[in-house]
Assembly symmetry: C2
Homo-oligomer: 303 residues x 2
Amino acid sequence: MTTATRREEMIALMQTGQERLCAAFAAMDGQTTFQSKTWERPGGGGGTARVLSEGAVFERAGVNVSAVHGDVVPPSVSNERPSTRGQPYFATGISMVLHTRNPYAPAFHANFRYFEAGDEYWFGGGMDMTPSYGFADDARHFHRTLKALCDRHAIVDYAQLKTTCDKYFYLKHRSEMRGVGGIFFDNLQPEGVAGFEQGLAFQADGIRAIEEAYLPIVARRKDMPYGEHERQWQLYRRGRYVEFNLVYDRGTLFGLQTSGNIEAILMSLPPLVRWEFDYHPEPGSPEAATLSMLQPYDWAGSA
Amino acid sequence: MTTATRREEMIALMQTGQERLCAAFAAMDGQTTFQSKTWERPGGGGGTARVLSEGAVFERAGVNVSAVHGDVVPPSVSNERPSTRGQPYFATGISMVLHTRNPYAPAFHANFRYFEAGDEYWFGGGMDMTPSYGFADDARHFHRTLKALCDRHAIVDYAQLKTTCDKYFYLKHRSEMRGVGGIFFDNLQPEGVAGFEQGLAFQADGIRAIEEAYLPIVARRKDMPYGEHERQWQLYRRGRYVEFNLVYDRGTLFGLQTSGNIEAILMSLPPLVRWEFDYHPEPGSPEAATLSMLQPYDWAGSA
């Protein structure tokens, strides 16, 4: 398969994924649809940001697709892969963040990406879930779906991808996980002549699994009654989301440093956020119980 | 003057400053007072965070004082001052952030600090103002007060401290200043036998000038009528404050990296914040006019 064919296949995968997911999210919302904004990158390539704002179910949902290329691999890549230094590169990906309105429905993040530099190509991606109010049933459903996804593909190991996720979505300054985890992988480089097809198949299956992993959870939480107390806790917990994305998230920081499309990059930030000084939920409260869920745990294997 | 005496004088300056400023801010608020929380640093020293929450005028006001010491200068300091490497150090400072409720009243930040390492000591600090709605009169009053402050002290130059401030409070990823600036200085090390006294006098005068520089502006804006549109714009602009503090602010990042007191460090974040995708105020609107004020300008010299 030629490089051009590989790129076309990956771009098509991202674009059809965006199309299908936006339709599914809008259907779940039932009230609001996605607005679309395309942008071009001065150095080469561009993308389309699709955003649903102020929906009935999703306070904000954003799904980005981009495909960019350049003459010289950026340092953040070549430092990790010295063999690519000075080479031209190509990258395409889909990323999405959904912030729900109902505090009982979790926020969700996923991204899948493909990178080429010189003669090498590799895959990255993952998805994770961030509840304001944790439900063991939700965490179990989410992780079991992800384990089944990984089990369908010999090139990945669920336990390993889950551990990588737990380590990545961690707020060091709070000694706190961002959510109940998920899977995360980088530098996935399947070997052999079928390597690309295996990687592509996993990416395609992963993007497809988003609906199964996340939407049933939204469906059963989106209409749960809640009050001002629960809303305020949700806004407070969103502060952790902002802290993680602006202080630690590699994709966000890379985007800020390389003057990518700022609005598309910061689309991940929640629509409304609250910070409170020295707040601690009451021991034994549902809020305290949620905090106790924010640690590495074998949800897929739990009863 | 002995080292011990210098330290005592600087700590006393910070503590009396905190006392006086909290009283002045609470009087301006008229409804709510400050809560106090002391904390200890495992490595040596500690501090007192004083916070006013949900006041009539100040949605949040926080004034921190700390005095810490350690056996070995942290790398962030010794990298800039190789002569201090491996030396014991001492640092004390006062820092404050005020977020107003009325969108027409600007947010305010100030900090003053003193550092000792080995045989060296130096001063740092500054103050700056961040309006949601810019008023030229306010920017003029603020900068003229700061220029008068600097003009009273031969060891500093207003124009230089203003330029440093304009460069520091800059969101590179937005190509946007955080506010209308102010003064900012680091590594102020007055020479000669009277060096310490000159530095101390400037710090004391600077802390005293906060009330004169900022509070008259709050007084004339705090009761201006406003509607939901103005409130939403204020919450949106606060997003820039969060982006700056979490992505660029040296003090915040230093605190997060060295596991300082997290709640005291992040007290600077606004109580309620909003992000919106790809928002641009209408040309000619008061919001657009404010954005046009967020660039380096000689407010002190303007008519």
